[in-house]
């Protein structure tokens, strides 16, 4: 079993990923992640000296648009904000973030 994962590590990464997990989920994921990481460990057999890491398979020539503001009509804004369960004045409403009284 991979030494890199234990229930404490799983709890920590669950928090980093903002996932609320039950104790039994922590237990189960710890075991499953260990198994998967054991499988991934075969990568250490490969000689990667002087091999460039790549983030794409084929060479890309990414193109970028000019960073221009586009005019959005009020109904567009409404349609976008309407995807949220809670909104107010065409803005997303979230629980209070800045401390109360």
């Amino acid at each position: 079993m991979s030494k890199d994962v234990n229930p404490e590590v799983t709890r920590k990464i669950a928090h980093l990923a903002r996932l609320k997990l039950t104790d039994s989920e922590i237990e189960q994921y710890t075991q499953e992640l260990s198994k998967i990481l054991d499988f991934v460990a075969q990568l250490s057999e490969v000689n990667t000296a002087n091999v460039e890491p790549v983030i794409h398979g084929v060479p890309l020539d990414p193109h970028f648009r000019e960073d221009e503001a586009i005019l959005l009509f009020e109904e567009d804004t409404k349609r976008i904000v309407a995807c949220s369960e809670q909104s107010l004045y065409d803005q997303y409403k979230v629980p209070q973030v800045i401390g109360g009284e």
Binding site: R18, E32, L33, V40, P53, V54, H56
Partner: protein
């Protein structure tokens, strides 16, 4: 089910009937919608009856001249559709009605295709059996106890079950090709950058590509030609002309002399690594049959080697999950989907994030987010993510070297035919192994297609995978068309 290829009417057959005014687009739409409504395979998450009727009416009024005008299509539910519920088969998007269309969806509308509905899938395209849908699994049309493959399981089952003539899926590690293989269809994962990803809900951005599920190569060529092309809204879409795939494939399909010449010039690589331990003997036998058929037609068969492909699955389960953990961070209950507020009005923002994500993401999605967060976390990044990106380079180089010598690389799409539901749900690794021959392709960014060739266990379809150099998507479909003809001439398994 002995015959692996479906006899449902293809788009080019409907096109001829429409042109001869033997039937109207409205009548065709009516047939497919009626079957989709009575569907027992759970292929669709939402039907688009109104849009379908409107599109068909416009086609009958002569507003579209496109080759696919009037053809009923299925759309995977991770492609956003304006005003039409788009769930990614997740509870976290159960009420999401996107304010815009994916580029490929706009292209389908622009061609006058008739949208039947949004296809079921594994949640966020994570899975190989369609058992990870929050809205229930999809059944294999040929045998309801078995899986249609995944993650584009609903797209594939809808075409195999004759509920749509063709469908769009997405392929991150085999999600178009593996279900195509299980359902007996032609499934193409195009070259990375060929088709716009704008409006495809991202799973692993460096691997995701929209793909096609069709009854044959001709329909695949028509559909690819319709959706391919540069898109300023996808920074990884490439500026390259879209060839007339449809005409090139039509020539191979209809001109026997041209086809014979095509096959004689074809150089086919066969990698030993794809025929190693773990391959079901019936699948092996069928695939070997295709090699014999190609040899008989004069193609040159070349043994090739992909020595790093055996590491592809390990690389994939670092790279894909790392990208997924970042891409899925946007689902937090604020902008889309329902919210979970465990302490009512007293719930803090952080508690809302954690509870919403913890409760509304499914098991496999959480597993992958955790794994990706781990691989990218401080202290493990070099050992996992960086190393995986280095091995990814070696996998890409293996392909590049071989494509100097051969036109296509041939092997099985999956190690087995469709399996029974529940067979692998308790063992994530066993499920992942189902994609062992398909993930190297996504890592390398090259195109690949699965086509039905013969049958395996229980008479179920076997998928033959053909892999090409970047931008050889057309050549792959021409090869499929040539093989289809060989199969029909009795040169099959």
């Amino acid at each position: 089910m002995k015959y692996p290829r479906h006899l449902h009417k293809k788009a080019w057959e409907w096109r001829a009937e429409l042109a001869a005014k033997k039937i109207t687009a409205k009548e065709i739409a009516g047939e497919y919608i009626a079957r989709a409504k009575a569907d027992k395979t759970n292929s669709f998450l939402s039907l688009m009856e109104n849009d379908a009727e409107a599109a068909a009416a416009a086609v009958d009024q002569g507003k579209f001249q496109h080759r696919l005008a009037g053809i009923p299509v299925g759309i995977k539910d991770n492609l956003v559709t304006k005003g039409v519920r788009t769930t990614c088969a997740s509870k976290i998007l159960s009420n999401y009605h996107p304010p815009y269309n994916a580029t490929v969806v706009n292209k389908l509308h622009g061609a006058g295709t008739v949208p039947v509905g949004k296809c079921n899938m594994d949640e966020f395209a994570m899975g190989s059996s369609n058992e990870n849908s929050a809205y229930g699994p999809v059944h294999l049309p040929q045998d309801p106890a078995r899986v249609p493959g995944g993650s584009s399981g609903g797209s594939a089952a809808s075409v195999a079950g004759n509920l749509a003539v063709m469908a769009l899926g997405s392929d991150t590690g085999g999600s178009v090709r593996q279900p195509a293989s299980f359902c007996g269809l032609v499934g193409l994962k195009p070259t990375y950058g060929r088709v716009s990803r704008y409006g495809l809900v991202a799973f692993a951005s460096s691997l995701d590509q929209v793909g096609t599920l069709t009854l044959d190569a001709q329909d695949g060529a028509d559909l690819l030609e319709t959706i391919a092309g540069f898109d300023a809204w996808d920074s990884t879409s490439l500026e390259r002309e879209v060839p007339r795939y449809s005409l090139a494939v039509e020539k191979v399909r209809t001109d026997a002399a041209h086809r014979a010449g095509f096959l004689k010039q074809l150089r086919v690589g066969v990698p030993a690594e794809f025929f190693a331990e773990g391959l079901d003997p019936t699948v092996r036998k069928a695939v070997e049959g295709s090699i014999e058929a190609l040899k008989g037609a004069g193609a040159k068969i070349v043994p090739v080697s992909l020595p790093h492909s055996k590491y592809a699955l390990a690389v994939y389960y670092v790279v894909a999950v790392s990208e997924a953990s970042a891409n899925l961070a946007r689902f937090d209950g604020v902008r889309f989907g329902p919210r979970v507020m465990p302490n009512g009005a007293q719930t803090t923002l952080e508690e809302m994030y954690e509870a919403t994500r913890g409760e509304l993401f499914g098991k496999e999605v959480k597993r992958r987010i955790l794994l990706g967060t781990f691989a990218l976390s401080s202290g493990y990044y070099d050992a996992y993510y960086k190393r995986a990106c280095q091995v990814r380079n070696l996998i890409s180089q293996d392909f590049a070297k071989n494509f100097r010598e051969v036109d296509v690389i041939l092997g099985p799409t999956t190690p087995t035919v469709s399996f029974e539901r529940g067979a692998k749900t308790n063992d994530p690794l066993a499920m992942y192994l189902s994609d062992i021959y398909t993930v190297p392709i996504n890592l390398a960014g090259v195109p690949a297609v699965s086509m039905p060739w013969g049958t395996g266990e229980k008479g179920l379809p076997v998928g033959l995978q053909l892999i090409g150099a970047p931008w050889s998507d057309g050549k792959l479909l021409e090869t499929v068309a040539a093989l289809e003809a060989l199969y029909d001439e009795g040169k099959g398994a």
